[in-house]
Symmetry: C2
């Protein structure tokens, strides 16, 4: 028996056969033309058949399917309470999948899937207490504690990006003020860079990227390396806030392994370095003593692999 791991984003849907050791078999990806739950179910049905065909398998070979997707998920029922990238609210997605497919289905938060993948066969392998912090376009986390995935009472545990680091500070995309994501998430970093360039009448590498319409995290990092003052200010501030917040997170959860992922941390080594320095400096000595920090090892496949491995864990 094999499982199917599914990564459901706002733009793409990916499905893969996942072996028990985390190895990926056939992987298929499709761009979502229609994000309605009914359409996604039907697209996924086709994708599943393509994956199975490609590996010469049938429905009877499938133990079950697990979907990782961004948002607030009610784990026990697989209901997507809020799926911001899909515009979903209260979608009984696991039940819809089980109606359309002849095997069991579970739905989890995308970072829960990713941390589970990293924990079993990635940078957290061998540890029962793994915290994954991902800083990409947004800021999030996934928690494994005592060998259990931690999802909280209503499926929104680990919303690291929405902890408040500057009370009453900058407005975040979530509608609240002073969130970590408003200072350290990639979308917000780019938006703040554009603001600062305007405010200061700033000239230099970053302003050139801005004029060329290419003001993203990659541009910020290149400008940082070229000595641009605004890039230094913004990435430095992000790293400082991430450092204290991550240190406090480690103090509270006492993980054995902290896994760092996401485009900002993997693409801007200076930010990752600043975050690590903050952890060294601000984590309680007792929680720091047994902590190992590692970069995420599974890249974009963490969610696919983790979902497939979770299906083995939860459906058997």
């Amino acid at each position: 028996m094999i499982t199917l791991g599914v990564d459901l984003g706002g733009t793409n849907l990916r499905a893969a056969r996942v072996a028990e050791d985390g190895a990926l078999g056939a992987v298929r990806r499709v761009r979502l033309a229609d994000r309605s739950p009914e359409s996604v179910v039907s697209t996924l049905r086709t994708l599943v058949d393509e994956v199975l065909d490609q590996d010469g398998l049938t429905h009877a070979d499938v133990l079950g399917l697990a979907v990782g997707t961004a948002g607030q998920i009610h784990g026990a029922t697989g209901r997507v309470v809020v799926g911001p990238n899909l515009g979903w609210r209260e979608v009984p997605f696991a039940a819809m999948l089980e109606e359309a497919l002849p095997f069991r289905a579970i739905v989890v938060n995308d970072l829960s899937a990713a941390v589970w993948g990293e924990r079993v066969v990635g940078a957290g392998a061998g540890a029962d207490d793994v915290l994954m912090i991902a800083v990409g376009s947004g800021v999030g986390s996934g928690i494994v504690s005592g060998g259990h995935l931690l999802d909280g009472a209503s499926g929104v545990a680990g919303e690291f990006g929405h902890t408040k680091v500057v009370p009453s500070g900058r407005l975040c995309g979530c509608g609240e003020h002073g969130c970590l994501e408003a200072y350290a998430g990639g979308h917000n970093l780019a938006a703040r860079a554009a603001e600062r360039i305007r405010e200061l009448g700033h000239e230099g590498p970053l302003a050139e990227y801005h004029r060329a319409g290419r003001l993203d995290v990659e541009a910020l990092h290149a400008a940082y390396l070229a000595g641009d003052a605004v890039a230094k200010e913004l990435l430095g501030h992000a790293a400082e806030l991430l450092g204290v917040a991550s240190a406090n997170y480690v103090t509270l959860l006492n993980p054995a392994r902290l896994v760092l992922g996401g485009g900002v941390l993997l693409g801007c080594p200076e930010v990752a370095r600043g975050l690590r320095a903050g952890i060294e400096r601000y984590t309680s000595r007792s929680a720091l003593a047994d902590l190992e920090i590692a970069l995420a090892a599974l890249g974009d496949d963490a969610g696919l692999i983790g979902a497939g491995l979770l299906a083995y864990e939860l459906l058997r």
Copy 2:
């Protein structure tokens, strides 16, 4: 079969018979004359026999014993890695107890015992995700998530008092700077009050308590009610820092129930009110939506009751 709950403090040792519904039978308390592990084991042996005698029971009626004590505990082996109030380091306490007594023994952190008690028969009853924040002479917490006690990779999860709220701020008793406990713990509040009185040449209710040698949390609260400016400044600042830190804690763990305990929160309603206001204001909307906040219901017995109930959970 019954269990025995034990509360091992720096000054007193208490043992009680605990029924499966959390009801306490005989309770015995003794002042610790000698804090060496060997002496505590021998004192506890006597105490256990007194408790059993009083209720007409024998060793054969005991399923097991559980001890709650402050510090860093390695849960799987019951080793006290650091017991600050006892001056212990690396004491294999559960093993010593099992050698001296004819039944099994477990050792857990005191706030883990307390949150378990509150979760089963106290203010957290009925919930699988309970966070307990205790602000007394120190600041700490206990976490139940998904029905599991969360203790972290090395037994120091939940060190809420040692999260950093003023990076590089006031020196804490733990040797680090800017810890929440350095601003909101009872010992530190009293010490800061004495400092502020000296710095400002402050006169008023608080200064009178200081001269009388009675500058404690009770005095701070009385002075606050009498309009003392320093008392207002210190309790207000403590409540503000507690509010943001607690809100972030709730955002990360998404508990169904937040239980507030400890002498500062129970004795100074203004601080508890400020903490609640901070939670309302700074917690992510999604984690706040399903949160209930309650005052601790079991008082000083939470640790005793929780330890006894944990023994049922873990030793059967």
